[in-house]
């Protein structure tokens, strides 16, 4: 203990204490935080099971019958009505961790800590699909990049997607804090369902707008772009001239000025 006491004035002490405190807080929160409801009784049908899960986890924002709920402030809604969005929307929103939202925000971010099992999400999807017909979850074949045409997909992507998601799918800004997320590392199925259902700010690209084949072409293009070798080296996030200019100023100039200082200094 003496050794500890002697080090209590060490500059790192505050940092370490803070870390320990934060860790304890986190652990305590994890222990007492409300958990998503467990799967409902096995005897119920999938739709009933989904309804139970919906009531427990979604209804506070989307309403008891998924009719949507206003926040009371202007036209803004806590959660939109879900009739007609289909199982694909549920699968996309919950399968990418966007729903349930953790906190009110301009937009629900993607979150890899998914709190529901696949069966639970499928069940909620079945319930939402039972409210009104809507897009369903695509088959494996429909989203198989190997069957798509990347060249055609590239043309479609540039006209329909690049203005929000950037030429390389690196994402882009929308108004007032909203954004088009990056498309790197997104499962082909999720890309397909996003086009089909138009989550959040994204418009809907229904099957008459972009045919299922066109959607698969776009997936093929994105897969090709993601997997192609980086011809010129590190991409700096594929953000265009801004990151290149920053690199030139910070690293390019930094290295050269470093060399100039070495050059101007007298040798020892």
């Amino acid at each position: 203990m003496n050794a500890l006491a002697a080090r209590r004035r060490h500059p790192a002490a505050i940092g370490i204490l803070l870390l320990i405190g934060l860790f304890l807080m986190g652990a305590a929160y994890a222990a007492i935080a409300p958990r998503p409801a467990e799967a409902a009784v096995s005897s119920a049908t999938q739709v009933d099971e989904g309804k139970q899960l919906f009531l427990a986890n979604c209804a506070s924002c989307h309403g008891l019958n998924a009719e949507g709920r206003a926040t009371g402030a202007g036209a803004s809604v806590a959660g939109p009505a879900l009739a007609g969005v289909g199982a694909a929307a549920v699968e996309f929103q919950m399968g990418t961790g966007r729903m349930p939202m953790r906190a009110p925000a301009a937009q629900a971010p993607r979150d890899d800590r998914i709190k529901f099992t696949e069966e639970q999400i499928t069940a909620i999807g079945a319930y939402v699909a039972s409210l009104a017909p809507g897009p369903s979850v695509p088959s494996e074949e429909a989203v198989d990049p190997a069957r798509g045409d990347a060249v055609k997909g590239g043309e479609l992507f540039r006209v329909n997607c690049a203005m929000c998601h950037n030429f390389a799918g690196a994402g882009g800004a929308l108004t007032r804090g909203k954004y088009a997320p990056a498309l790197t590392g997104v499962a082909p199925k999720d890309i397909y369902m996003a086009m089909e259902t138009g989550p959040q700010s994204m418009p809907v690209f229904n099957d008459t707008n972009l045919t299922p084949e066109a959607k698969r072409d776009i997936i093929a293009f994105l897969t090709a772009v993601n997997e192609e070798p980086k011809a010129g080296g590190f991409t700096l996030g594929s953000l265009g001239p801004v990151s290149e200019g920053m690199f030139a100023w910070i690293f390019g100039l930094g290295i050269m000025v470093g060399c100039a200082i070495w050059l101007g200094n007298k040798a020892a």
């Binding site: 479609l156 006209v159 909203k178 700010s201 418009p203 070495w262 040798a267």
Partner: protein, 374 residues
């Protein structure tokens, strides 16, 4: 500057002031200016401090080896470059930590080249720093201006030349020369200016929706045109456009043109959206649309970027170039950013087969402003 005492009144304070002030401050310990100079004197170059390479032959030898090693590195770099150029396949790839899979030949050529150059550079500078003389040398400056005699001589030569040429005595020559010199550029400049491009005429105010090609001198007559998907070039049924959808649209026939596809696209690109008619706040917008389906020019009224970013939740259109934001529920009026004018609406209807068609061309010029636009 202390050497050059051509100080002008007004900007340099006579140094006595400081002397006087300081003497007063030290409360009589130093009386008057005594032997104290008004300003500090330049102490001259400090004594030269020898480097380790000056003092020890071993250190000099070490520096020599370092320089030689750097030059050798340069040679190795060049060899790497040449080998990579001939032996590595242009499509070969390699994994680089932090970058991912990248082109191998590109990497090796670049690294080889960098080593070849940096080896020479660092070697030469290290050589200069450690082994070349490092005693500073002094070179004197001289005022930039020529002597008064030289200046006068130049003026004299000029005047004499003018006299000898009799330019002042023969005004006829003076004025005709002036006129000729003033005009001789015309034959050079005129063909350049005249041949740059045609006059715009009405073409900035017309688009393909007016009935066909709309370049300078072309006056298309209006016929209803189907709205076609961009880039698939297929017509759109009203029933295809569900609420929340956005279609990128070009007029029928544009993509079939032999020439001028991009020129027509640059004016005719249209964005098609469907809103719940309850959300639309402007009657004209509803009237010019079809059951909540509305078509607006996609060319920004600021500087002409495509305004493609449609947020289906807020019905805002955002331009990615300068962030002008247009509200589709309010006839695309500007609600943020540097654009002034609303996006022009294209009046649409449906034809007998249920396909969306234009009902009239744009009523105003699309795209960025120009002087005679009105």
């Amino acid at each position: 500057m202390n050497e050059q005492d051509t100080t002008r009144a007004g900007d340099v304070l006579p140094a006595e002031e400081f002397g006087a002030e300081a003497v007063r401050l030290d409360q009589g310990h130093v009386v008057g200016h005594g032997g104290i100079p008004e300003v500090f004197q330049n102490p001259g170059l400090p004594p030269h401090a020898p480097r380790t390479t000056d003092l020890s032959e071993a250190a000099a030898k070490r520096a020599e080896k370092q320089v030689a090693a750097l030059f050798a590195l340069s040679i190795v770099g060049t060899i790497v470059f040449v080998l990579a150029y001939f032996l590595v396949d242009i499509r070969a790839t390699t994994y680089v930590p932090g970058i991912g899979v990248m082109a191998l030949q590109h990497l090796l050529l670049g690294i080889g080249m960098a080593a070849a150059l940096l080896g020479i550079g660092f070697g030469a500078v290290h050589w200069a720093k450690t082994l070349m003389p490092d005693e500073e040398v002094v070179e004197m400056r001289h005022p930039m201006r020529s002597s008064d005699a030289d200046r006068a001589a130049v003026v004299q030569t000029l005047t004499d030349g003018g006299e000898a040429a009799q330019i002042n005595r023969r005004p006829l020559i003076k004025y005709t020369l002036g006129g000729a010199l003033g005009l001789f550029a015309v034959p050079v400049v005129l063909p350049v200016l005249g041949g740059l491009g045609p006059m715009p005429q009405k073409s900035l105010s017309l688009t393909f929706w007016n009935g066909g090609p709309s370049g300078p001198g072309e006056e298309p007559t209006f016929t209803p045109m189907r709205l076609m998907r961009d880039p698939e070039n297929t017509p759109i049924k009203a029933s295809d456009v569900t609420i929340g959808s956005v279609f990128h649209v070009l007029p029928e026939g544009l993509l079939d043109l032999e020439h001028g596809v991009l020129e027509e696209k640059a004016k005719a690109a249209v964005l098609l959206m469907r809103l719940d008619p309850k959300d639309i706040k402007v009657q004209k917008e509803i009237d010019w649309g079809h059951q909540g389906i509305v078509a607006y020019s996609k060319i920004c009224t600021h500087v002409g970027c495509p305004v493609g970013l449609y947020e289906q939740g807020t019905h805002h259109l955002l331009c990615p170039c300068h962030q002008s934001t247009f509200d589709v529920t309010q006839d695309c009026k500007v609600i943020f950013g540097p654009a002034k004018r609303a996006l022009p609406q294209l009046k649409i209807t449906v034809d007998d087969e249920g396909y969306l068609v234009s009902a009239q061309p744009f009523r105003e010029a699309v795209g960025p402003s120009f002087w005679e636009r009105g």
